[in-house]
Amino acid sequence: MMCLSDDELQMLADNALDKKDRTRALSHIKSCAHCQEQYTQIQSVFTFLESEPAVNLPAGFADAVAACAVGKYPPLADTRLNISVAQPVPTNQVRTKRMQNRIKDIAIAAVVAITLSILLNWLSSNSLGTAVDALGYDLDTMDIPFAYAMLLFTLTIGVFVIDAFMYRRFNKLNIHGRDRK
């Protein structure tokens, strides 16, 4: 039988050969001085590398780490429970919730828009309006359709912004069962 290759010797030492090849390799090593020497050298490197470090972890390390991990973080069981218990929200409830949110958003947007229109009106009739005119905004020439267009525009933007915020929050709460930090 031919001598074992470096790869075979390494795999033998690493216990990575299958049973048949291992038996064959070991029987060859018994009868071949060269392979026996090579194998002994590999084993001596193994023994050397597997010697324990001159230093160890401090006493009580495991208990301290476990106390830190279990105490510092919420119990995993609770987290898993929250996830598994969280049932899919029925579609009709989702629709109702979205509708409520939308009404709330429209109400908020309306308040903002009315406030803006009052401010606009005040600026146009006040001396401050002159300053605004000086900046290039001719509020006196604003006609009523344009003022309504501005009002509608503000309302639409307000609804979109607030709705996006509210919907994201509502959706997030239901997916994870709780607020994520």
Binding site: D6, D7, Q10, M11, D14, A16, Q41, I42, V45, F46, F48, L49, E50, S51, E52, P53, A54, V55, N56, L57, P58, F61, A62, D63, V65, A66, A67, C68, A69, V70, G71, K72, Y73, P75, L76, A77, D78, T79, R80
Partner: protein, 176 residues
Amino acid sequence: MQRTDAELIRRSREADGDAFAELVRRYEKRVFGIVYRMLDDYAEATDITQETFIKTYTHLDQFDDERPFMPWLATIALNLARNSLASIWAKRQALDDDLSSNTDEFTCLEVLDEVQSVLSHLTPEQREVIVLRHISDLTYEAIAEATGEKVSTVKSRLFEARQRIKLLRIHEEAKL
């Protein structure tokens, strides 16, 4: 009767501190071995070992119960050790500069054991495979998974590293 890893992991997921402590006790030496042999810095290795187990605890729900625990743990430890290596080298470089004019202090910082001295002559990639094979007792396949390399690459790196270690030891013995 000794409880199995699977049982300890299941109980740890239910926030059983004693079960998790037992799991830590079972693997702390091997994890510390990986990290210490990689970093060669006792304080940092202790911190990283602790971080490894805390990270393990917080991610236990992601562990696949059908697979062995050690390769998964070794991957976490290895990744944390890799992240720490850069800062360790920077710190060491600064320390070397400070001590270059003071040989007495430098003598105190000599490596504590021969293995550490030999490992310092290997490339980080060679050191990784040696540590995972000999300290963690991982198979070629598990090492390949932990390092993200092919099995053939792992085998050739192990071979090169062992050849280098053999030569270094011969060289050291010749000096004595």
